[in-house]
Amino acid sequence: MLALGQDEIAKYPFLADAGQYLKDKGFTLEQFGTDSDLKQLIDKAFDRILVAADGKIYKSDLDGDHVQTDAALPREVFSFLLAIVLLKLSGMHTLIKRFALAEARRAEKYLEKDLANISDESKKQLAIKIIDDLFSVQIEKQNDYFVIPVSNYLKHSINFHEREWKLINRHVENGQVYLTPHETVRLIRKELGTYISTKIINAKTPSMIPGFEDSVNKLILLSKKFSTYTVTTGEYPPCIKHAIEILEKGENLPHSGRFMLATFLLSKGQTVQQIAPLFKNAPDYNERVTLYQLNHLAGTSGSGTQYSCPSCEKLKTQTLCFAIPECNNIINPLQFGKKRS
């Protein structure tokens, strides 16, 4: 584990061992519920969750790299730890997800600042070490940039759907990708969020602590606001329509296209018997082979694995994508026509 200085724990509170931290400071959770001075910290923790639920980043008392007062630092850490206790007591998963994401964004800001820090080498080294320890991303400073091996970059960048993250839109040289401090930190955003949410999910849920009830109840009410339901138009996305057209014309649809069509329709609940006739017009149609392959995809024969419909990104690579404006913001054909409300 990393050895952290005082202000580093405030910046990256998720790295601290919560129980140990409280013990070191000489507090128990119960005290926060009863002691009127400490009770403010529960309100502070509640605020921290509220801000996160709103999709914003919690504005801390930390000013730049330095804590304004000695007292601000522990307050900062306590409010984080107490927020986790409140979330665990509420048991509301949507809130945990939102909180983890907001905390990740907050940590991102500090990591970025530390990486770009030219006056304090140790701060930069710590940021590099956090990124390496937590996410096994080895970055190296080269002039104004941070470089990372292409293979390492790809493992993270494939989680992004914006085109700017595609390798082709990066400065690539000699097996390395060149990134600014901002991009370096942005690259691990998802992993940082996952790291924090896993830590929260794996934390033990305490039994209700007197003095915490009000805030917990308010959180449960709050989380109701975020429940969503979806409606579907039922129309097929253009890639699927295109594939069906090709087959209807008796033209050859490549293997990857047949895979897409079959997995899509299977996911939509159609049966192998309903799907098989679609392929009748294919130049190389063979009923036995078609049924065998469809059953294989459905998982009813062979290894039992049920194959899922490829992502839009994969279909683009296979030149099977014929995106229309309605395709914006979806990452898999199965999401086409679904609207959240």
Binding site: K155, H171, E313
Partner: protein, 373 residues
């Protein structure tokens, strides 16, 4: 394929394998790889483990396969079903096929075989006899096809070496035995990356998915200094050469690009893929569980051998990869296209009985353009 044709082709293959066992070796770390094979008119048998040259030779002698394959992936248990194999890593692999290069010569040496009535013609859209649109295309690649493929291989190697830090000695090029080449990359930083990462790598190599900003074009606040220059590394440098042509034209062309606007620039980028992108088959590169034709084995689509290319620039597959004997044999050939094998011209044949060397007979039978007389 007819029974007696199969027997003839199998006999020819068997003779080749018997005489050329020195060419058929298991690859490195064979015990971690999956093997598979096919026999004529029959399905694929895969998930086989083969540990030594002897075991491999036994497979050839016992089964006389039409095609033999081996994975580029390494597994803990290569002979188990796919989801129990425990994938470890895979060599990076690229398939460059003449049929994907949009070459103008293709139409001259491609025939269509009607799936309904077996009529062979050079018409590519529908059968002249029964009007069916279910056609199987067979091509007899020419020198231009091979030269164009080699150009793609050189483009690919440049990107692998300069951009992706692959060592030249770790790039091995093989003629696939039919119309293209397989490029293997060993011991690179990419051994352990998965399918989605490989798909990204394929887009990079094919020059696909660019946004104008990467090449200096913006929607607002345009700045001439952000446009790429000739001496830049990677795609910005290559794109400069393509779009500016010469250094003296750079300034003038930047002004034009700015005047024409953002979406026109996007179009230039997309069009550039066809010209400067490498024409690999992305599906092959991103598939980490595929089995590939084993070097040294014969490709049943042609009767030619998959062969390591020691000297790519001089390599002529239609001379060097043809190993079958030249015993004369009579066939009924229906091959409307002339082709070259071992420096000799053959055809065109119009449904006629001819005596040809075995390597020519097998080539045409494998292409479904002849049967034994």
């Amino acid at each position: 394929m007819k029974e007696n044709d199969i027997k003839f082709v199998e006999d020819s293959f068997k003779k080749y394998y018997f005489v050329h066992f020195d060419q058929i070796r298991v690859p490195n770390r064979a015990s971690e790889r999956e093997f598979g094979y096919q026999k004529f008119n029959s399905g694929m048998i895969r998930h086989i483990s083969i540990k030594s040259d002897n075991e491999l030779h036994l497979l050839f002698m016992q089964n006389i396969p039409s095609d033999v394959y081996c994975s580029n992936a390494y597994y803990s248990f290569p002979n188990m079903p796919m989801n129990e194999k425990e994938w470890k890593e895979a060599d990076l692999i690229f398939d460059i096929d003449a049929k994907d290069l949009n070459l103008s010569c293709r139409v001259n040496h491609t025939v269509s075989i009607c799936s309904q009535c077996n009529k062979i013609s050079k018409n590519s859209t529908q059968c002249l006899k029964c009007n069916s649109t279910k056609l199987e295309k067979k091509s007899l690649p020419c020198k231009n096809c091979i030269d164009a493929s080699k150009t793609e291989i050189l483009k690919l190697s440049e990107i692998l070496i300069d951009d992706l830090a692959v060592l030249p000695e770790n790039i091995h090029v093989y003629f696939s035995g039919n119309e293209g080449f397989h490029v293997y990359v060993y011991n690179s930083q990419f051994q352990q990356i998965g399918s989605r990462e490989r798909s990204e790598l394929a887009d990079y190599i094919m020059f696909r998915g660019m946004i104008p900003e990467t090449f200096g074009m913006k929607k607002f606040k345009l700045d001439r200094s952000t446009f790429p220059d000739f001496n830049e590394k990677g795609w910005r440098g290559r794109f400069s050469k393509y779009v500016f042509g010469s250094k003296s034209k750079r300034s003038k062309i930047i002004s034009e690009l700015i005047a024409n606007g953002y979406s026109s620039f996007q179009k230039i980028l997309d069009d550039a893929s066809e010209n400067i992108g490498v024409k690999i088959d992305p599906n092959v590169t991103m598939d980490i569980h595929r089995i590939f034709r084993l070097p040294g084995s014969i490709n049943s689509k042609s009767g030619l051998t998959k062969l390591f290319c020691q000297n790519l620039s001089k390599f002529d597959p239609y001379v060097e990869a043809s190993f079958l004997n030249d015993d004369s044999i009579e066939v009924i050939a229906n091959c409307p296209i002339q082709f070259n094998l071992k420096n000799k011209k053959f055809g065109p044949y119009n449904n006629e009985k001819v005596a040809v060397p075995t390597f020519v007979a097998v080539y045409m039978i494998c292409k479904k353009l002849a049967t034994l007389a």
